[in-house]
Symmetry: D2
Subunit: 348 residues, 4 copies
Amino acid sequence: MVRVGILGASGYGGGELIRLLKRHPEVRLVGFSSRRHTDKALFEVWPQLVDERMFKPQEEVVAEAEVVILALPNGIAMELVPGLLEAGKWVIDLSGDYRLPPEVYEAWYGLPHKSPALYREAVYGLPELFRGEIPGARLLANPGCYVTAATLALAPLAAGGLLEEASLVGMSGVSGAGREAEETFFAEVNENLKPYRPGGTHRHIPEMELNLARLRAQGRWPRTHGAQKGVRLSFIPHLVPMTRGILVSAFVRLNEDLSELRLEALYREFYQDEPFVFFTRALPQTKGTFASNRVWISLRKDERTGLVQVFSALDNLGKGMASQAVQNLNLMLGFPEGLALDREGVWP
Amino acid sequence: MVRVGILGASGYGGGELIRLLKRHPEVRLVGFSSRRHTDKALFEVWPQLVDERMFKPQEEVVAEAEVVILALPNGIAMELVPGLLEAGKWVIDLSGDYRLPPEVYEAWYGLPHKSPALYREAVYGLPELFRGEIPGARLLANPGCYVTAATLALAPLAAGGLLEEASLVGMSGVSGAGREAEETFFAEVNENLKPYRPGGTHRHIPEMELNLARLRAQGRWPRTHGAQKGVRLSFIPHLVPMTRGILVSAFVRLNEDLSELRLEALYREFYQDEPFVFFTRALPQTKGTFASNRVWISLRKDERTGLVQVFSALDNLGKGMASQAVQNLNLMLGFPEGLALDREGVWP
Amino acid sequence: MVRVGILGASGYGGGELIRLLKRHPEVRLVGFSSRRHTDKALFEVWPQLVDERMFKPQEEVVAEAEVVILALPNGIAMELVPGLLEAGKWVIDLSGDYRLPPEVYEAWYGLPHKSPALYREAVYGLPELFRGEIPGARLLANPGCYVTAATLALAPLAAGGLLEEASLVGMSGVSGAGREAEETFFAEVNENLKPYRPGGTHRHIPEMELNLARLRAQGRWPRTHGAQKGVRLSFIPHLVPMTRGILVSAFVRLNEDLSELRLEALYREFYQDEPFVFFTRALPQTKGTFASNRVWISLRKDERTGLVQVFSALDNLGKGMASQAVQNLNLMLGFPEGLALDREGVWP
Amino acid sequence: MVRVGILGASGYGGGELIRLLKRHPEVRLVGFSSRRHTDKALFEVWPQLVDERMFKPQEEVVAEAEVVILALPNGIAMELVPGLLEAGKWVIDLSGDYRLPPEVYEAWYGLPHKSPALYREAVYGLPELFRGEIPGARLLANPGCYVTAATLALAPLAAGGLLEEASLVGMSGVSGAGREAEETFFAEVNENLKPYRPGGTHRHIPEMELNLARLRAQGRWPRTHGAQKGVRLSFIPHLVPMTRGILVSAFVRLNEDLSELRLEALYREFYQDEPFVFFTRALPQTKGTFASNRVWISLRKDERTGLVQVFSALDNLGKGMASQAVQNLNLMLGFPEGLALDREGVWP
């Protein structure tokens, strides 16, 4: 049993982590903290839980934990992580702080990075593509939700050197904005649909591009760092009136004319041993991934334009956040990769 | 007062037409029929109506009407219209039967056309682009919902000869599938998001391409028919868990490098006199068009890729169907174009 | 044309009032204010509007208006109204400030009343029951949403002296809580259902009881004020994951055993001349009242228990708030009662 | 490992059973059948599953199973069960066929009962109240969803002999109507709220009354059968625009005046050892029970009327159907009662 603590346990990432870790047979959840709730019990903050344990001060959680999971807003992990590593903790960070080279991070997040040197020690936790680096990692950067969907959608093409150009649309449920996020009031977003942060400004774009460039340059199991050159993506995220779920739909121009059949064979082979990636002929539906660690991918060739259309669905709080963190935790510590994780969704 | 009848009054298009025509000061609604309901009162089929008038047999509706609006499934209008025109009726057809050259129709709809000669007499009713042809038309083909959104989104670029390539995503509320449509059960589509008919197979694609080709070839006010050559579009529709609303998001490659400012000026000028098209810097939200005839368009330049991203929202049952039909009726008969139509939506 | 101004124009009541008043042929909307937005245009606060007029300071709105509509939180009208009346304005107040005798108000709202004497001058604006008092009123208290639904549901029984006991459940869409209200974040209330303020603590209870007591004591067209004695209601409100709509379902014990047929006849007669109340055998659906001033009532006798079950649906922002205010405005100023109001809903 | 088969595996009850049984450590799911799908794989019928096993003919499922779970419409189990019992199977029936005395069943379900004698052998599976009878049962009648919520809400009062009168409102998500049920199209029920089957006609009423009468007559652990006399309930079900979840809100008249504090103590004691019933001061929210076997109960005294208001939430497909069946299966076969069941919900 490993002792795990969560900082930021009142957000959706934290809540989903608690659900998963409570049933994890190798984990003892020793504490959880929140800047917003200090003297409250878990059930008061999370109505779905019947757990009377109290939120603790952050220092107590850290003191008792061997593994610290940071489910905090961007910009905070980079202050805490140096101390945590020094204290010998394993760290899983759900924020963007260690996902990008510091200079890229600073440009896109508009924040000076406070521990840039640690980026070189951070391992990027997308197991299906970079699994080899994760075991034994001390600092793991858990990928973003759109990024996981988009990268896995295009990875077989990028790794095969086929990717010429790609335009992506992301569509996300409202929980992706966080709990009690600005401008997510029910009466404003229900029965409503809108794009947001268009024009190449969404922070997930460089993370997608970096992932695809690495795959292109180094094949499937690259080392995390190093110079790569790759495609520029055009990406438009949208807010959809549902709670959970992300769908990415991509228009892809290949540098070689492959048939739909060949492309499907390529994807099937690429993902054949992946327990959580399902490539099917059936088109993905987000509900089919609800509350699971599943990624559902499908593709079509548009013969009239020559473009390939690729679709990728996942649960933004599952494989897009909390359950991917548990998958990474399992790999870091040598547990079976799928421990405490669901491969199938809840329907309806 | 003109006497108007509706065939197909139990579908969503028919229901919205009734709502609009009941408040139209120049229209007397003389009858409505439905193949599904013959001995029912209006309020029994439409819970929002407090109207005790009975559905009538189709022939009675036709006999009493000067204008017949066909809100029927594809493939039926082409059987009825010859007789209606012969009987001297004005006809507005909400189906796809007269929107496309018969050979294109047959290829995409998989049906032999039964009155192909009438296509040459049909006027395509997208007033913002082809207004000049509508007054006096006897047979009007009312455009599809995705087509209206997509065409208006790209029209200024097409008319300006700027359009090189475009990939479009459509996202539609569930009412777009029709009333009591297969696979639209609440528990299956609520909290769910999915693409459908991808791979260049959706029937609205040739209608979009034809519209843009005409604009490219002939400028803004072309005659409807004639040979044109244009871009091929890649289009992916999606089903979104909401009732009404369509959003089209497009990635566009221009053949000239124009700044965002120049593009915005182009759109503003193109639509400056259009009472129902609103081009704004603010990004569109479908809810802002709810139950109205409004189209809300915005754009962004993605400087990193050079692509232009264009967004277009409307109510699929409003400007995408019934209120556009009323706009066309107003133009056909010489009433003020906006009579009985709302330029603003209902919020929340 | 009467000059109307709205204070509190950034809330849902204010927004719906603007929609209705813009199409009112006898009203000129001369201004609107909001404590939250001073230097903004209407379209910036209300995405459904394409109106560039600016919010104004409250004093300017008041100065230019003959009729001032207060769409403000409870507790503010009672400070403003004395000055407004002194300045010769007509006032319609959407808050609870003048709906209840001051001592009752203070007990239930927990606020000292600052202009209690004006309660005697205020007219309670439920036209279907107290129409006679409204023409010429200078200060009109517009009823609450639950209250309108519940009172109209039980009025024929109360006026007939039949009401012995009633337990009511209210179910409301989320917009009833106001715009950007606490605890109405999409991901928290979507796919969720809960009671709130149970145990006889909801502020609408005394207003319901007072209305029913007046009907019982004085018949249908009572003077507003005076001592009455009536039934105590047990009322439980619930929050339902939808935007608009209220349904009240009541269990009623009568002091006389009337058949379902007799009861239906009683309701039909009671409401036969009311343009906005529809009593039908068909059970009400909130969607059938969407964006309208309609109230939809139905009843059933539960023969096994002897209880009468009464159902009442309306749009909480329509007949439950803004359109009822317009109906009252029409009556106050002598316009046709239904001017600018819809008797039918928008579906779907 | 016990071999379990499911008949009716394409409905929501069947789908949820599959989800739960696949992770049950003592169960081997040996087959599943559906009258609608014979030559399909599981993943084709259930998009959330990544399971390629095929639906089988009913006889094959039965032949291979030791336990047969019937997730079929009412009226079918009563034909199948005699043969199944004869063949030595354990049977769990999710329909209403064996929940009621045959004469009551026939009166409320309008069907002649085809195996009435077996009612005496059937055990009613509401473990929290009638646990003692379940171990070793060969034919188990799994309670209805509204009934489970209502009975557990009122059980402490009924068992204490305190219940004088009760009026109940039920509010259910749309999945309660079944998969692809009539009149559950998204555009018709989204943003809509309505009562249905009012007037004392809903089939769950006699089941609720019978349960409460037994508790009143015999205390907490009665034998299932025998004459009882009890209260008549007035019950109104409502359809709420959400997928899962049931809330029952009750107005209760006691025959003794107990304080809120005393009542809360009574409930706490009554349910103190129940792993799946949570009585709290916090008001229940259906989302807090999502995808779990949890029942969430709370109460308030309405001091003004003397009525007690009791609230009870559960997942209609969980504790209201499939997970309760698994709980019963665990008890029948001597497994730990909570095996494979979740005590906590999924949020958001």
